[in-house]
């Protein structure tokens, strides 16, 4: 009962904050709709089946807690990538630190500006995919985000946007509670690569809603930053029209608690989606990937590839579902999740699910958990490679299958390099 009461109190406190925001026009309507959704759902708690492996308490409570700033000189991801860089500090957009938000075939506005303007395509998207993403499982933290967000971007790709847009989340305070909301529409024939990097905030709640029109392409590469005590709840909601294509990859290192939910709804025939992640955790670390892919049309392909390397008591969670609706024939669904435990204190928990209502379907899923292969280690050492280096090679090789899902080779190399550096820093 004590837990139920504290959850209810937490909800009240945070709803009060959302109500205080007010706003005008479409944003006020979107916020109040999100608030009523949230009231119906309530905040998540450990007793919920969807949170059985990950206690959401620290994501839910009013106090975001604090997270020490990491004062090292490890370079940021994508620092050598030619892109339009948009910088947030503790969750607030900072035009003074950013490139001018502009590119060919791209309409883009900071969320605050968009909310006070009459931009029909933004208002038509904001909160819509999130609202549609609660069936059959509620995702209250996403609704909370829609209700609270002041910062973020709305963007629309009207063609192939020539270079990536990179959202960089920096930190200055040790106790910031950030809420960032990004809405992206990619029009027919358009293409957009969206990058995200940086530690975010002491507590970061980010929602991304992406509507991918017929034949359009969305690439997403996210590097979640390395601050040890930070908390993150991230949601990506993507709707894919016919023959469209999305790839979303996330690398996560460190962080006390990370819940990444990805909800993909394939509504048009022949759509393709890949959701992948490479995760490395050492010590006080819980990382949860929760993926829900719905095949709602014919001939769609989906892939989920998740790899987690865990040591010193780190915990990894994977909950992945493929739902094939009635009539979604010729579906090709694939899912693999693997944990590599570098010691006996670490844990990997996986809940792979398939739910299929069509009969002409190829779906497979696999989940494994184990230690480094001693035969492989011996083989490398027998060729003169010292134990440390051989172990690092094998850890990186384990992660490689997920990294290979990144479309762009240069971005993949960047991620691979960061993983390698992390592995070397965290050698025994």
């Amino acid at each position: 009962m004590a837990q139920a009461r504290s959850v209810a109190e937490a909800l009240d406190a945070r709803l009060a904050a959302a109500e205080a925001l007010g706003g005008s026009g479409w944003s006020r309507d979107a916020r109040s709709a999100a608030l009523s959704r949230l009231r119906r759902m309530g905040m998540p708690a450990r007793r919920d089946e969807y949170w059985r492996f990950t206690d959401p308490e620290r994501l839910v409570r009013p106090d975001p807690g604090s997270a020490d700033l990491l004062g090292d000189d490890v370079r940021m991801a994508f620092s050598s990538t030619d892109c339009t860089r948009l910088v947030f500090v503790d969750g607030a957009f900072r035009p003074d630190l950013s490139d001018r938000p502009a590119a060919e075939h791209l309409e883009i506005l900071p969320l605050q500006e968009a909310m006070s303007a009459d931009i029909h395509w933004a208002s038509a998207l904001y909160g819509r995919l999130e609202a549609a993403g609660h069936d059959p499982v509620a995702r209250p933290l996403a609704a909370l985000n829609t209700a609270l967000a002041k910062d973020g971007f709305v963007l629309r790709a009207t063609g192939r946007v020539p270079k990536p847009v990179c959202l960089t989340y920096l930190r200055e305070r040790d106790d910031a509670d950030a809420t960032v909301h990004v809405v992206a529409g990619i029009l027919e024939g358009g293409a957009l690569t969206l990058l995200e990097n940086g530690p975010g905030a002491a507590r970061m709640n980010i929602v991304m809603e992406v509507d991918v029109a017929k034949g359009a392409v969305f690439n997403h590469v996210r590097v979640q930053g390395r601050d040890h005590q930070r908390l993150t709840a991230a949601h990506v909601f993507a709707r894919l029209a016919a023959s469209s294509h999305m790839k979303s990859f996330t690398m996560t290192s460190n962080g006390a608690l990370t819940r990444n939910e990805t909800v993909v709804d394939m509504t048009g025939d022949g759509a393709r989606a890949t959701v992948a992640g490479a995760v490395v955790g050492d010590g006080e670390f819980l990382h949860d990937d929760t993926v829900f892919v719905t095949h709602g049309a014919e001939g769609c392909e989906s892939r989920q590839v998740f790899k987690k390397v865990l040591r010193n008591g780190a915990k990894g969670v994977f909950q992945g579902k493929i739902l094939v609706k009635e009539g979604a024939q010729k579906t090709d669904g694939y899912q693999i999740s693997q944990g590599l435990l570098l010691d006996e204190d670490s844990q990997f928990m996986a809940k792979p699910e398939l739910e299929i209502y069509a009969d002409d379907v190829a779906c497979s899923h696999g989940s494994t958990c184990g230690a480094l292969d001693p035969d492989a280690l011996f083989y490398l050492m027998a060729r003169g490679i010292p134990r440390d280096e051989a172990e690092s090679m094998l850890v990186l090789a384990f992660l490689a299958e997920a990294v290979e899902e990144i479309e762009d080779a240069e971005l993949a190399d960047d991620v691979r390099g960061r993983l390698e550096e992390w592995i070397v820093r965290h050698r025994r």
Partner: protein, 251 residues
């Protein structure tokens, strides 16, 4: 070069004795073959030489180029010049064959206090060796041993041998699972690598590899001991009569 004295080895977990007093001396420039029936301890000997975990030496010694081999980690043994061509080369998806070879060569060079090879120089070396051994460069672009046929795996072992240039090469049933053409290619590779300062220890069930790689000395192993040693003719004798006659003789 290699001096094994009264070597007794048991399996760590089961405490089962496998080697029960092996004596063997291999000189630089020579080729020694070890033959023997299944379960005689041939492969155990190769693993103990390379330093695989899971075996306990209960008695005896192994000296390699003046050093106590048993004191060294597997990577240090490679640095000292020992090479084991595996009976079952391990598939490692995610590690490129080329990256693996370069990492291995440079690790050995570094440990010996030599300069690491640049990417360009390394490529030149690999190209030359692959050409010599008639190995296509496409095999080098694939992940290490992954999806390789039995023949490709064994040829990849010989390529590693040719690039790392060890002084003692232990070939553990390199002929197993090979058709006659693949066997010949592997044997040619070994012959190319013969040198005055390099020795080979060829472990095999069958005599057929020894038609192509002609040994100076043949040893027959049974029940954890070397029961007979002789010239190349001993292999032919085994091929004709099987091991039964020899085993009777020592019984």
């Amino acid at each position: 070069m290699l001096e094994i004295k009264n070597l007794h080895v048991e399996l760590e977990e089961e405490k089962t004795p496998i080697l029960k007093g092996v004596d063997l001396s291999v000189e630089a420039g020579s080729i020694h073959a070890i033959m023997g029936p299944n379960g005689s301890g041939k492969s155990t000997l190769s693993y103990v030489l390379a330093g695989r975990e899971g075996y306990v030496v209960t008695q005896g010694s192994i000296r390699f180029r003046g050093e106590d081999l048993l004191e060294l980690e597997p990577d240090e043994r490679a640095v000292a010049g020992l090479f084991l061509a595996f009976q079952y080369p391990v598939e490692i998806p995610g590690v490129g064959n080329m990256t693996f070879l370069r990492t291995a060569l440079n690790a050995i060079r570094k440990a010996r206090g030599e300069a690491e090879l640049s990417a360009a120089d390394f490529l030149k070396l690999v190209r030359a060796r692959a050409k010599q051994l008639e190995i296509g460069m496409e095999m080098l672009k694939r992940p290490l041993n992954t999806g390789f046929s039995g023949g490709e795996k064994k040829r990849n072992e010989i390529l590693q041998l040719a690039i790392l240039e060890p002084c003692l090469c232990v070939l553990d049933e390199t002929d197993s699972g090979l058709d006659i053409d693949a066997l010949k290619l592997v044997a040619e590779g070994v012959n190319i690598m013969r040198a005055d300062d390099r020795a080979f220890l060829v472990i095999t069930h069958y005599q057929r590899l020894l038609n192509h790689v002609v040994p100076d000395v043949v040893h027959v192993m049974a029940d954890g001991r070397i029961i007979e040693s002789g010239g190349a003719g001993l292999a032919l004798e085994v091929e004709t009569n099987g091991y039964v006659e020899l085993l009777k003789k020592v019984a």
